[in-house]
Amino acid sequence: MLRDIRNHKIQFISIFLMAFLGVYVFVGFGAESFGFEETANQYYGETNLADGWIYTSNLDDDFVDKVNNLSLTKDSERQLAVNSIADFDNDPDITLHFLEDDDISQFYLVKGEEFNLSDGDGVWLDTRFAEAKNLSVGDNISFTFEGITIEKEIKGLGYSPEHLYQTSDSSMIPDYTKMGFAYLSYKAFPLSDVPYNVLLVKYDGNSSAYEKQLDDDLTRDYSTFMPRAQHPSYAEFQDETEQHQMMTDVIPVIFIVIAMLTLLTTMTRIINNQRTQIGILKALGFKNRTIMFHYISYGFWMVLAGSILGLILGPLTLPPIMFDEMADLYSIPYWLTGFNISFIIVTVLMVVLAALISYFACRNIVNESPSSAIRPKVPKVSTSGFLEKLGLWKKFSFNVRWNYRDAKRNKFRALMSIFGVLACTLIIVASFGCMDGFDEMKEWSYEDINHYSSKLVLEDNVTSSQIDYIVDDVDGEKLMESAIEIKSDDVKKSGVVTVLDDNDLYTPTDDEKNPLEISESEVSLSKKMAQLLDVKEGDTVKWHIMGSDKWVNTTVDKIHSDPTSQGIIISKEKLDDLGLNYTTTSVISSNDVYENYTGVKTVFSMDSLTDSWDDMMESSMTVIYLLAGFASLLSVIVLYNLGLLSFTEIKREFATLKVLGFKSSQLRKLLLTQNLWFTTIGFVIGVPLGREVLQYLWGTMGDSFYLNAHISLKTLIITFLITYVISILVNLMFSGKIKKLNMVESLKDNE
């Protein structure tokens, strides 16, 4: 047994590696993506995250009673959530939560004392913000909101399930020096009457059922109901989870399938190559059972060892790499490595399949009589096919004829090689295509649509004369972008309304990224939103601006395309016609703005926006590089392994050719030709399939993203290079073998 393994060292190593790599990638990425879900579930469960948030200005006892009386309501809790500025040089935005009770959406303490409702002097602060500002328990901190300043002692540091993902108006990606949150008791509020503005609710059933009950029984006596799915922090993390799942769902599955298929091919062939030896053992009088046991245990142990190592190392090594990336983006107290029963199923399947295939391959030989088993299998008869009948055939070189017939005679091996290359091409194309897509989105969004140099985000209470002054001073344009809810017959989604006021620096685009003219009287819906709502041009949608309960019906006149923002674009005039208020939310300018204006919350430069975008995509890049790396590694193993198998089979032929006077280089060319054929076929099929996979991935990326899959020339070239370099590299590994091919021995150990 050990001697067998030594003799077939490389094949056993490759069996081991394939089993390992297949399981490792599958389980590793799975553990990461399921880990996201599990982390969220456990964290949200532990902190009892609210199921929904009801925002209204008249949150009196009467209203709370009404909500509590709804049959679906399980629990509710009032809060005042208010934006404040903490007393630091960079004026960080801190969301203060004054709690009436602390059962729903609890503060997750990591340091200091537990949250105490009766403590009016303390504050429980965002630990990431504290870290960034070097604050610790016992320090004092003061906040200013609505003209009031309060100073409190930090009693605890921790996390909040409502602030897993934090961005502020001044920063598109989390920057903990600029923002944070704090939890306080209602007693900490300077007035005795706390003007609560949000009611956290836990309820039974789904959000739409609950919302219907709210609508029916409360006759919409509130401004906005926000179910979990629309909560920014919850939704962002959900999107991230989906983004990871999209990449880790499809590709590792392809991975494991290739690993399994090659594994099975290899094992069958190893056993078939042992045919004569099995025959001898039989002739010597070994029992079938003994022989079978020997040969099944053969690959079995390798597969078992490889699979189990993959099962253990996958979750141990891959998720931490990813979680490290994610930790900057999300404030979460812990990351769990996920587990799914599919991990075990796949591992067991791998091992069982390996054992089964060995069993059948072995049984076929063992069941033959020793006298026939001892002889090599009769080679398959080549037949002349249609290609040979063409006159053209005679013009083909020996190289072409030999390879064509060899592939024809070993269809399975040929198919496996093609499939191996195909899958690797596909993974690499899809992975790098993702990268292209991110770049494309960036360019589309920040060059074609938004082509200003600066964007000044205005404060809510800014006056129109202030706005006019700013517009005049920076030579800017006014823009309104507000969150909306939008409904078709049975689907409801959140999105953005963009209101244009003769803008030159903001250009809506069509699906081809060309400028799209939307006239004053028209309403345009984004393509992704149209798909989500299942509406087309001419249909009617119903929508309202968040914070107002005035719903309007509009006909979709046009469909525009936007990669990152989904919703409605209309003109200021049309908005007025609909009876909605126009509020300028930002001023955009083609100049760089460095001045501080009153009424301006933040100034974004185009550079900072694109930088933020790059940062956001960084974690996905890690996944992409990992996947592309593993795909290349796998294709090396697959191709080398199949090459090795075919090499053992054609060794005798090659030895003959060498004896006859063929040069080693001619023989190498023979092998290379075949490799290149298979690589080319695999590549040609793999690229369009990769594009399909990519298209599927974009579709699952989250509601706010929209993109058509494109394969850039760069990706095509990279994929081409990787695939062909691997193919040629693997071929080179065999050139040494051809050179060393011992003609005398190869001719002697014959049939």
């Binding site: 080679p379 008869v381 080549s382 032929e653 060498k658 006077g661 063929f662 040069k663 005398v744």
Partner: protein, 234 residues
């Protein structure tokens, strides 16, 4: 007749660990152009070693092998490959045809290694395989396969035909036909044919018989009047 091949004090040793096996021990002989030579010897006598050295498949430990005036023992791998392609036509016990190629393709294959125009059909006709050109080896009988193999070997018009037990895998009747063919090649076309075998009967048909034993030449006989292969008593 001029000398085609000359072996001078040829020694071949195989090392395995500390043990040195001398498979060829001071061997001297010559073979003339157009001769029909039979090399005889029991198993392990060094027949195959001799054939491998002569065929350029292996190199000597010491001594000289001169073929057509060229010192084969000094050749490197590349030169050996060229030497095999140009001078040696191999005929194997198990035919060693390329299973992926038809009979005629197996013959015309030689175009890839030597600069000779080969008419596959004509060569196949000359070995009596008219009509089998487009069959694959697996569709041919043993004797037919060996004929293809001979056709392949002679197609490139080599200086010598090296035959390693050419009838070893054939029944005696087919074997006679194959040997007959080889003898005719030697007699009519002046091809040097060297047959390695342990079958002593064949000695009577040879122009020259070289007997080897334990790696040494035991005896070299020249038959002034060799018999025809089909006149031998099998």
């Amino acid at each position: 007749m001029s000398t085609l091949i000359e072996f001078k004090d040829v020694v071949k040793e195989y090392k395995s660990g500390d043990h040195v096996l001398r498979a060829m021990d001071n061997v001297n002989f010559t073979i003339d152009e157009g001769e029909f030579v039979v090399i005889l010897g029991p198993s392990g006598a060094g027949k195959s070693t001799l054939l491998n050295l002569l065929g350029g498949l292996d190199s000597t430990t010491s001594g000289q092998i001169i073929v057509n005036g060229e010192h084969v023992e000094n050749f490197n791998d590349n030169e050996l490959t060229k030497y095999r392609a140009k001078n040696v036509g191999f005929i194997f016990q198990f035919y060693n045809l390329i299973p992926n190629l038809t009979a005629i393709e197996n013959v015309e294959l030689m175009k890839d290694i030597v600069d000779v125009n080969i008419d596959g059909n004509a060569v196949l006709d000359s070995v009596g395989l008219t009509g089998h050109a487009n069959q694959f080896p697996a569709q041919l009988s043993g004797g037919e396969q060996q004929r293809v193999s001979i056709a392949r070997a002679v197609a490139k018009q080599p200086a010598m035909l090296l035959c390693d037990e050419p009838t070893g895998a054939l029944d005696s009747k087919t074997g006679v036909l194959i040997l007959n063919l080889l003898q005719e090649m030697s007699n009519n076309k002046n091809t040097t044919v060297i047959i390695v075998t342990h079958n002593a009967i064949l000695a009577e048909a040879a122009d020259k018989v070289i007997r080897i034993k334990n790696g040494q030449i035991e005896d070299i006989t020249i038959n002034e009047h060799p018999k025809k292969v089909d006149e031998l008593e099998w």
